[in-house]
Structure formats: C-alpha cells, structure tokens
Amino acid sequence: MSMLSALAHVEAMQNMTAVRLTAFRHHRLSDRPLVIIPLTMAGEAGAPLAVMAGTARRDMTLLVVPQPRNRDQRFAFAADLGRVVMDYIDSYRQDRRGEGERSQYTDVPQIIVPNQGGVNALADLGRMCRFRSTTGPYAVPEVVPEFGMWLTFLVDTAEMAGTSMLLPLTALLTEHWATGQSTLEDQNLASLMAWIAPPRGVSIAQALEEAENPDVCPPAGPSTSPEFDNRDLAPAIKRFDTAHALGDPHTLAAAQTELTELIAGQVKPTWRLMWAAISILRSIPKAPQTARRLDRDCRLFTNHSDYRDAGGLPQRKRDTAISAARRLSQLERALADFEAAMAFDDPFVLADRRSGGEAFTGTVVESQPNRTAITAKNTTVPRPRVTVRTSDPLRLAAGTKLISPTMPKGHKAVIVSVLPDGDTTLVTVEVTAGMGRGRTPKAGSVPDLDKDIDYLPDPGWRPNPTFPDSDHTPWTHSADPDGPDDSAVPENAAAEEWGHDN
C-alpha cells in the first residue's frame, strides 16, 4: 500500500465515508454479465448447496441441491448450472473476426461473483467436474466435464491482473474506493457497500452494523450463516430427507419448495446488492486502455475455445514446480503491465505511485532538444536531454526506462542522473524513442521548457526471472507426475456413507 492509499483510508475512517482511489474503472464491465452467487455447505468443500445465476437483475435462476451430501444430486446440480453457464459462454462463441492465426472472437463472457470466496467455490466446482467421465458406471451428463474445464479456465484467468472474464465484485469496488475499515472487512460485500452506498435513509455507521448481522444481511457466501444452518436449513433438509424416504410426491414437492424458499431468502439480498453495485460501477467512466485488455481477453478466450473445440484434455491437476514458477512469472508480468497501464491512464493511480517514489511529476527546467548521439552502427540519432525539477520523493535510479502519459504515444526516455537540490530533485532524462525517423526530433516529441510532465517506469523493461529449484518443495507445494484421476478409485465408491442421515 502506498502512502496515498493509506492516507485515503485514514480520511475515509475520519470522515466516515468511502474515498475515491481512482478516476476510472480499470476493469471492463460487460453489458450482459452473468452474475453467479455460489453457496456451499459448511464443513465440506465441493458440496454445493445452491447457486443463483442470471444476466439481469430481473432474470435469475435459483438452483438448489436438496441434500448436498448426496453425490448424485451434486452432479445433477452441476449439470443444471453447467447448462446455464455454457449457454451463456456459447453465446460468445459466435462472432469471429480476422483470418487464420489472427482470427478471434469479438467479445468475451464475464462472470461476476460476490467475493474471492465465490471464485474459490467455482474453482472447487471446476476441479470436481472436469475429470468426470461421461461413460461407465458413474457417468455424468456431457455438459459436466465441459463446464468443469471452462470454469477452470475462467478461474485461471481471474488470477491474471487486468482480465475481466471472472471477477469478484469486492475487488472491483475496492479498486475504486477506499473505506475506513480493514481489508478483511472489505471482503464482506455488504460492509463494503455500506461505505460506498448505504441503503436509503440509513447512516453508514448503521449500515455497517447491519452488514454484520445475518438477519439483515445474510452472508454473500459461499458459506451460509451458522445460525441459518442450525435454525432453518438443517431442519428443512431433514424434512426433505424424510419426505424422500417416504416417497410421497406431494410431501416431497412441499419439502423441496420450502427448502428453495429458505435458500432464496438467504441469497436474494446479495443478488440485489450485487446489481446495485454493478450499476454504481457502470457510472464510473472506464479507463482508455480497457479496450486493449479486452483484446487480450478475446485472445485467451478464443484460444481456449478452439482448444475445447478440438477436444483438448482437461487441465492438469497441478503444474510442475517449474511450470508453476513460469506461470507465476507470467502473472507478475501481467500485474506489472496492468499497474503501469493504470498509472498511465489514471492521475489518481499515478499520484499513488508518485507518493511511493515510483513515478514523478515535475517541470522541465533545462532542455537540450538538439542533442544527438552516435549508435554502435555509426549512425547519428537524436538523443535530446531534459532536466525536470520535481518535489516528489523519487526512488528511481539512473538507467530506469520511462514512459509518460503527458507526451505523445511512443515517447520513451531513460534516467541519466538524479540530483537532490534543496527540497526538490533534479532528474535528467534522455529521450530515446517517439521522435520519428528523422535526424531531428519531430515537433512536440521533446518536452518543452517549463512544461509540466509525468514520468513512470516502462513495464517493458523487466529483469528475467530466475526459477526456484524444483526439489525440496514441501508437500503442500509438491507436484506428482500427473496421472489419470485415480482410475481405481471411483469417487462414488463411498457414496452410500453419505446418502442420508444415519
């Protein structure tokens, strides 16, 4: 966290209101996002309880697993949800543009879940589904493994900064606003929204209190509140089991309706809150480079889609240590690019970097616009130098390559020297690119005297990562060779242990 963000949180706390952290929204918001609220059963990972999903506030589907311990019901649920999600995803696998290698879809799906827990629940669901067989004694519908592979793909992209195909809403909100509470409390969607847009007629302080009361604001999942579990859900599931054992269709239907209503009561407040949050987020202008990131999303989406069309195998259970390290480096790269792009686009973010000494703004106090240098190939090229006076607490060293949002596209420079001068710092930079092909720089490509200018590091320049030794990884990180999914061990082998109460 930078000094500026820290200060924003302090202000939010002191003034009891959310404080803006960015000028723009840096993530794309689809016109037709698929909002999904997954609920799971306490104490058992991968035991889905219910899901509410839909592409508009007024158009949602609630799917419920009446007895989450029953594995057959689990996969029937996965198939139902899989159809909803695959219909949605397939609607983006229609329009392609470009030829051959460069052919790609023009838009991508976007799934929004309430919080990081929602992403994790989808990750579990994806892992549970993608290796399932559609033939043999424990066959599942065709859609189940397909759905699992797509979920896994989406969850993987969600780790990559700047992508927008699967997003937790809390992350979108905290990117734009600082609250007067901790990161932990910001994970609670209702608490977060209490700061940003408390319910009509309710103060932020009151709204915060209500956000933590499960009677007013049931948790946004994936876990339900223990009170609800014990008071309402457990008895209702028991009634369902009893009705099921009796085999009377009327009692069974009644029990199922009751269960569905109970769960609807828990999930709907979050549903409404999510659409309220989305509509607030829409009102924030989107950052210029959002379009470029959509292009990357289209590329990723198209690649996976083509891989699926070609009948590709499910994603491995785990990367090997080396490929995990490689992926990590890709993620770091994406993060660096995203952070740079945000700072480039957004003066708030730039200011954030400035307060940490990772960027600077100043006035040009000296300029040698006609300076040239001779390259190794013995050609003369323009290499103008300018000196900028800044009062920012600069921590960049000579040799750092720079880009500037205040200069025309393509402008690049490198720091030549950094000299303290009283309370300020004099930074001399050499312009290295963006000046055209001529022997003299084209007009406007070199900062003029007295001009105010922003510089930040060029993310294009990064040292090569060194990968860790693959040996000696603790068991939590070790990777076995990826075999088939324990072919001798059908997951259902112990299913009857869990069928019903005993």
Partner: protein, 280 residues
C-alpha cells in the same frame, strides 16, 4: 421510488431489520411471524419479477436417487441383523450390519432401528432367560469383560468369537472381508444371479484397505475385483495376527466363563471406575 420493485425491496429490508430487533430482544415468536411476512414479501418480489419478463419456472427437478424400496420381507429387524452377522461371522457395528444387509438381503433395515436393539434384547433376556433361540448381545472387552461400544454379536457364538482384544478389530475386519468375498463369489457363480452393485461396493471398500487385495491398475478405468485375490490377500495378513489374537481371546474367554450367564452375554458391569477424584 417509481419502480415497485425498489419499493418492495425497501420494505423487505425494513422487515429484515425488524427480525433482527425481535431476535435481539429475545422475542422468537415475533421473529417467527416476521420471517413468515418476509417470505410473503419475497414471493411478491418473485411475482413482480415474473410479470416483468415472464419466464417459465423450471420444473422441480426429480431427485435422482434410487426409489425407496417398497418391496421386501417383513422380517423383524433382529432377524435381519442376525442374518447379516451370520454372514460376517464377526462382531460388527450397526453401520456395517446395515451395509451387509443392503448388499446381500432384501428388505429394509436402517441404522436407527439398531440403536435400541441391544437394550431390548437384554431386557427380553432378563424377563425370561433363554426363551429365544438366540439373542443379539455384546462383544466383550478382553481386559475388563465389559461391553464394547457399538458392537453387536450373537449369543450362540462361542465366547472367544465375541471377545475383543487389541488385534481383534483387524482380525475381524479381515475375516469379514473373506466372508464378503465368498458371498460375492457365490452370487457370481450362482445360476442366473450376479452380485448387487451394493455388494461389489462393499467388497471394494474392504479390499481397498488390504495390501495386495486390489487388482493391479489397468489402463481402463474400471478395474474388476477378483474375489479369490481378496480372499488370498486377507488370509495372508490374517496369518500375521491370528495366533496372538487367539491367545488373548482364549485367555479372556476363560475368565469370562466365571461371569454369570447374563454377564457373559451382555458384559460385566462397569468396574474399576473410582468416583471423581478432586483435582489438584
């Protein structure tokens, strides 16, 4: 507030706050009433949504599960249990008894029916000892000869078979595996019959926990259990434990014969338990 949906959502929030207040005040009756009101309001919200964009409600999913068995013999639970124990030939917990029953016999038997069985049997024995041809009774701990938690046995078995020493749980497990494998094999070879899916699953769960009992992994997903391989593997491990277990059981059964008959069946009373000592 032009949107009626907004208005309804507002009153839903108000209701939720009222529920919180009622709960906080400990007024659970009022909270219950309010919850009912809340459900009505939520239904109204659903209705309003539906009028906006009529979408047919998805038909309630038929629950994919085996239909409850309506058929089956009307044998009393104790007969079912007796039959399952005879097949196993070892003391067993209710869960395993139900598992064996479902794997090999028709009719319904639930674990909940078994919970009071041992007490009923003891009562029946006390009121007229020996009136029944057999009783479902306890397994006895080798040291104190007290009843062992949860395990059921049959009164007609020799005492040794009903004693539980430190090695006996494993010995009984391996013995049970052999008996189940034999029963599966019998079903396989009987004319026109084949073992039920439940029987194969049961055998699988036993075999998976015995070294060398599983077929070596084959490329195809479903590996087929070989009942003879299970039997051989179980016997091989059994040979390791059998003598030591037998020594403990026979020594304990000699002591047990000094108990009165009821105690031999249902266990010695709790002993060696001093009253709560004051703690330092």
């Amino acid at each position: 507030m032009s949107d009626p949906l907004d208005a309804l959502e507002h009153s839903i929030s108000t209701l939720r706050r009222a529920i919180r207040d009622a709960s906080a005040a400990g007024d659970s009756e009022r909270a219950g009433e309010l919850r009912a009101q809340l459900r009505r309001a939520e239904r109204a919200w659903d209705a309003l949504i539906d009028t906006g964009e009529p979408a047919p409600a998805p038909p309630p999913r038929t629950v994919p599960d085996t239909p409850p068995a309506a058929f089956g013999s009307q044998l009393p639970a104790r007969e079912h249990v007796h039959r399952a124990l005879m097949l196993l030939g070892t003391p067993a917990a209710p869960k395993l008894i139900v598992g064996v029953h479902e794997a090999f016999f028709p009719g319904e038997l639930s674990a909940s029916k078994l919970s009071s069985l041992r007490r009923d049997e003891a009562r029946s024995y006390q009121s007229s000892p020996g009136a029944r041809p057999y009783y479902l009774c306890s397994a006895l701990a080798h040291d104190l000869l007290t009843p062992v938690r949860a395990l059921l046995t049959i009164s007609t078995w020799p005492l040794e078979q009903r004693i539980i020493g430190p090695l006996s749980p494993r010995v009984d497990f391996l013995t049970g595996a052999i008996r189940i494998a034999e029963a599966v094999h019998a079903a396989e070879t009987s004319a026109g019959g084949e073992p039920s899916a439940a029987a194969l699953r049961l055998l699988w769960r036993f075999a998976a926990n015995i070294p060398e009992a599983m077929p070596s992994r084959t490329p195809e997903r479903e590996s087929v259990l070989d009942t003879q391989q299970v039997i051989d593997a179980a016997r091989a491990e059994l040979a390791v434990h059998l003598d030591a277990d037998h020594a403990v059981r026979s020594e304990a059964s000699r002591r047990a014969r000094a108990l009165d008959e009821a105690q031999q069946l249902f266990g010695a009373p709790p002993q060696n338990v001093t009253p709560l000592r004051a703690r330092a």
